[in-house]
Amino acid sequence: MGFFTDTTLCIGCKACEVACKEWNKLPSDGYEFTGESYDNTKELNGNSWRHVAFIEQLGQERDTSRWLMESDVCKHCTHAGCLDVCPTGAIIRTEFGTVVIQDDICNGCGYCVVACPFGVIGEKQEDHTMGKCTLCYDRLKVGEQPACAKACPTESIQFGVVDELRERAEKRLANVQARFAGAQLYLNDPNDGVGGGGSLFLLLDKPEVYGLPPNPIVPTKDLPLRWRTAGIAAALLFGAVVLCAAVRE
């Protein structure tokens, strides 16, 4: 299961941020005026699992003036770096295909933080374990949709089966391309660097404009190769040592 976040429909009301925090009992992230348009929560982290980005693109020409809004969330990657590196097994792939941190197992080592190409994960204020979107695992268990999707008044956040969402996203892109300059899909390609997201997005500009990496690659992508290389090197080394020893003898 996953999200399709369609930014052409996002009105920046932040109901998703509030619904997420209310349901998941997350604390406020501090009361700081950032001056970054209407965004005062700044980023996804351990205490904010949904985050609405505001990008002002206002030129002199009213026809091209835009105020982009995008509700960001954990991407629930097909190839999830966080899951790969978690040394305690706290991060799991659930029966819904989502990536979830079990906070009773997490020891707060923070390896997952650096393994996420999107900077989604952070430390939770409450118990110093790592936190991020669970796609409301507890709600899914009882047949409810995630709190953010439920609260979204304009269906900018849609919840469903990832394959169906991908199809829907393609259709939606075809529908809006003529109306919205720069419309493009993000993380809808299963062959991209993270194997496609469980959260996909319809953006109105390049991903980097929203603070998203343009070509995200799971950092553990080359891990098997590295292990192989390391294995060969070790074997060679071992061979050399044995050889040396044999020669000395």
């Binding site: 932040k14 509030v18 925090k21 604390p27 009361y31 001056g35 003036s65």
Partner: protein, 845 residues
């Protein structure tokens, strides 16, 4: 709205916006302040409708629409005037609708003079009394049906008067007033015209951006004229949607907290004019239309309130109703508080110390009371002003000399009590209590019910007549639980009313004037039909037609689109298949459709009233506006408004420029309160009119709720907008040296406050009459209490009222701004004295 169409409510419902071919959102930031309803605008946009936002700022609403037009705050009437000019000039009105359903053909009196003839005034102006008398605005003939010219050619018919009146509102002139290009107005006008007619409809949606001006009612009248000319009232996808400022504001005018109304828009009796019920009924009821049955509504109301005591012999206890003898509106009462005429005050669901215009004046008024009851979740600023307020900080007020005794009581939240909300579209929706209120928190219903019970007990033994209104009042509702919470459903049932057998009524058609029926609010009659709480119905939209008549209940009679007889042509056929809604079924001999017809069910479209017909029988089969005595939509309002039968553009009370259209600068009927701490910044034509060079306007953000009592105490909302900020253009920032993210000091002749600076391209300078002007935008949510605090934008405002609705101008004043933090303590009054001196305001203006 009431004057133009007959009822003071939105003519349509938010879900119907999905059927619009064009939506004009103006005086409203719908996406930010009505995000849930805005989904229907998005739905319309996705279906290909043109969505237009006319608003001073580029907001989250503007970001979603096809066209944004940034006008100067307070110039809406000029903008709408130019649209009317365009419709008339290019002959784009929906003629068949206009001729049959509006008063455009009515011939006006010879002695009626328009503003064209009297330079900004209508006939009937009394310079010495600052008011109009209305005789000359009446129809030419009031004996029976008014005289009409259905060819619309007679020079004295409303249509021709309108043409002359709006001749000067050219897009070019309006553009100079609004600070935009004429082409932008033409684009909007053309979009509305192209999307109106038989096959298409356009809707207009507004909120407090229109009402909070000294000419607010006339702005709404402008929209009414446009929608009548284009034939968009009573039809799907059309209408005017009044988006209310917060939950149940519609309900608080229906069952009013207003001083001059009884439930259901029945006027409050006047001390001098209404000695008995007969006088009152005669002066208040119309010969034709629904108001012809006023006696039934009033008698049933008196039965609901005074029960067995209300008999024919006791004149149904009419004498026990309170009387008014003048203006007792909120702001007038504040002035009276300052003057020591009001001793006590209940402050419920509001926070005037932050939320009302010129909040400093309100705090001074509260400090002059003997007692004050504040019921809220937290100790809001209106309860803490005696030790924590700008006036205390500056030393102008001293805690030890404030005598007000304050009773602060914890209130239950909306999830902690049963009850109904009446929302923006007249829809009553029931909500059940989810959790018990904590500790001593109680519902408002509990508070008033038990307060009433105690007062009744105390007064029971008093035989004096002045105790009768309380002694005779019916006050019995079932109580439940430990806290003895009264039943909200029983209150709703009383509002609905019952017959002589005590059976719930099913509609106001059943009300009687003989005392056999009781009904707490005639327009809500039917909300408890068949002994069922109709407002609690929750049948999903997917299981019924798109109008969803089985979701909750709307007044009147569960109608969702008002005046829907107009969705059919004079013969009763839908104007088009695409826009069919309610129509005449010849075989069944009744009106049918998707909604409850807003018309007598079996009245034929060709019905002509016989001579001497009264009330609804006097409304012809082709007249959809059944509340009006003439059954017509009022393009010209012969009665109902004190400042003119047609909208006129006047500058806001405080303005940086001269009125381009008339030599009269501001609305001559506006209500002013010149007094210390409520000084007016000088405007052009007055000396030193440029002393406060920038336009000031206030507004709200999605993240907070009004004066902040419900959001500044909630961490999850407070973090989203933690600090008070001002929004300025890069040009103004450069002009005044304001730095993004830093502090700015904003001041008027009333107050000086500080805010963080938000420099944004979303705010643009305006070119007015060839000169560049700037605006300062301020969200008004902050005060000194709560998790996030800040100065209150409303401290800067001045109190001058719109003369019909007594609403304060909050969205178009003048101010000045400079970089850095504000003065503190005793330096504040000194600073303001200096400001006033520099503006040469030695005398109170």
């Amino acid at each position: 709205m009431g004057t133009s169409f007959g009822r003071g409510g939105a003519t349509t419902f938010q879900q119907d916006l999905q059927n619009s071919d064009c939506i004009l959102i103006m005086g409203s930031n719908m996406a930010e302040n009505h995000p849930v309803g805005f989904q229907w605008v998005m739905e319309a946009r996705e279906r290909g409708a043109k969505i237009i936002h006319v608003d001073p700022r580029f907001t989250r609403t503007s970001a979603m629409v096809n066209l944004h037009v940034p006008i100067r705050p307070g110039t809406d009437t000029a903008f709408l005037g130019a649209i009317i000019h365009y419709i008339l000039e290019h002959d784009r009105a929906f003629k068949e609708y206009v001729v049959n359903y509006t008063n455009a053909p009515v011939i006006l009196r010879e002695d009626f003079k328009d503003t064209e003839e009297l330079d900004g005034f209508f006939s009937g102006w009394h310079e010495d009394q600052n008011r109009y008398t209305f005789e000359s605005w009446q129809y030419g003939s009031m004996d029976g049906a008014p005289h009409m010219d259905k060819t619309l050619q007679d020079p004295r018919c409303v249509y021709q008067v309108l043409k002359r009146h709006y001749a000067r509102y050219t897009p070019e002139t309006a553009a100079q007033i609004c600070g935009i290009d004429a082409q932008q107005i033409i684009e909007v006008a053309e979009a509305l015209c192209a999307n109106s007619g038989r096959e298409r409809t356009s809707a207009i949606s507004y909120s407090v951006g229109w009402t909070q001006h000294t000419a607010g009612a006339q702005t709404i009248r402008g929209a009414a004229i446009i929608q009548l000319l284009l034939g968009n009232i009573g039809r799907p996808g059309g209408g005017i949607l009044a988006l209310r400022g917060h939950a149940s504001i519609q309900g608080s005018t229906d069952i009013p907290t207003l001083f001059n109304l009884l439930p259901g828009y029945i006027p409050m009796p006047h001390a001098l004019a209404h000695d008995n019920l007969k006088d009152f009924i005669e002066s208040g009821s119309a010969m034709a239309g629904a108001w012809g049955n006023l006696d039934r509504y009033v008698v049933s109301l008196l039965k609901a309130w005074f029960g067995e005591h209300a008999t024919e012999k006791s004149d149904f206890c009419f004498d026990l109703l309170p009387r008014i003898n003048g203006d007792h509106s909120t702001y007038r009462s504040i002035m009276d508080m300052l003057d020591g005429k009001v001793k006590g005050f209940f402050c419920i669901g509001e926070n005037p110390a932050v939320g009302s215009g010129n909040s400093g004046l309100h705090r001074r008024a509260l400090a002059n009371l003997e007692w004050l009851v504040v019921r809220d979740f937290n100790e809001i600023e209106s309860a803490s002003f005696w030790y924590d307020a700008p006036e205390i900080e500056s030393g102008e007020l001293r805690t030890e000399s404030i005598k007000t005794e304050i009773f602060w009581m914890p209130a239950a939240g909306h999830t902690e009590k049963d009850g109904s909300f009446t929302n923006t579209q007249r829809l009553l929706q029931w909500r059940d209590k989810a959790v018990e209120p904590q500790d001593e928190a109680r519902s408002e219903l509990w508070f008033y019910y038990h307060l009433g019970k105690r007062i009744k007990e105390k007064i029971a033994q008093q035989a004096e007549p002045h105790a009768d209104p309380i002694r005779f009042l019916t006050w019995e509702y079932p109580e439940t639980g430990e806290t003895r919470e009264p039943s909200a459903a029983a209150v709703l049932r009383e509002i609905n009313g019952w017959d002589a057998q005590g059976k719930a009524l099913s509609g106001f058609g059943e009300l009687k004037a003989d005392g056999s029926t009781a009904c707490g609010c005639w327009i809500y009659c039917g909300c408890y039909k068949d002994e069922q709480n109709q407002t609690a119905r929750r049948k999903p939209g997917s299981e019924q037609n798109w109008v969803a008549p089985e979701w909750a209940w709307a007044w009147p009679a569960n109608r969702r689109i008002l005046y829907n007889r107009a969705s059919a042509d004079p013969q009763g056929k839908p104007w088009s298949e695409r826009k069919k809604y309610v129509w005449w079924d010849e075989q069944k001999s009744e009106w049918i459709g998707f909604d409850t017809p807003d018309f007598a069910k079996n009245k034929r479209p060709d019905y002509i009233p016989p001579n001497g017909a009264k009330a609804d029988d006097a409304i012809a089969g082709g007249q959809p506006f059944i509340m009006q005595a003439d059954g017509l939509g009022w393009i010209f309002a012969p009665t109902g408004l004190v400042d003119g039968p047609l909208p006129v553009y006047y500058e806001p009370h405080e303005s940086p420029v001269r009125n381009l259209l008339y030599s009269q600068q501001a609305n001559p009927c506006r209500r002013q309160f010149p007094r210390p701490f409520n000084e007016s910044n000088p405007s052009p034509s007055e000396l030193h009119g440029d002393a406060f060079p920038f336009v000031l306007h206030t507004y709200r953000l999605t993240e907070h709720h009004t004066a902040g009592a419900m959001s500044r105490s909630v961490p999850h909302l407070s973090e989203l907008q933690p600090e008070f900020f001002c929004e300025v253009s890069p040009e103004l920032a450069q002009l005044r040296g304001l730095i993004h993210g830093d502090w700015a000091t904003i001041f008027t002749s009333r107050a000086v406050i500080e805010a963080r600076v938000m420099v944004t391209g979303r705010v643009k300078p305006m070119i007015l009459q060839g000169k560049e002007f700037h605006s300062v935008g301020l969200p008004y949510h902050w005060g000194s209490r709560g998790l996030v605090t800040g100065d209150s934008a409303n401290d800067l405002l001045q109190i001058t009222l719109e003369p019909n609705a007594h609403i304060n101008e909050t969205k178009g004043l003048t101010c000045d701004i400079m970089p850095g933090r504000r003065p503190r303590g005793e330096a504040v009054p000194a600073f303001l004295n200096d400001v006033r001196k520099r503006a040469h305001m030695d005398v109170v203006t």
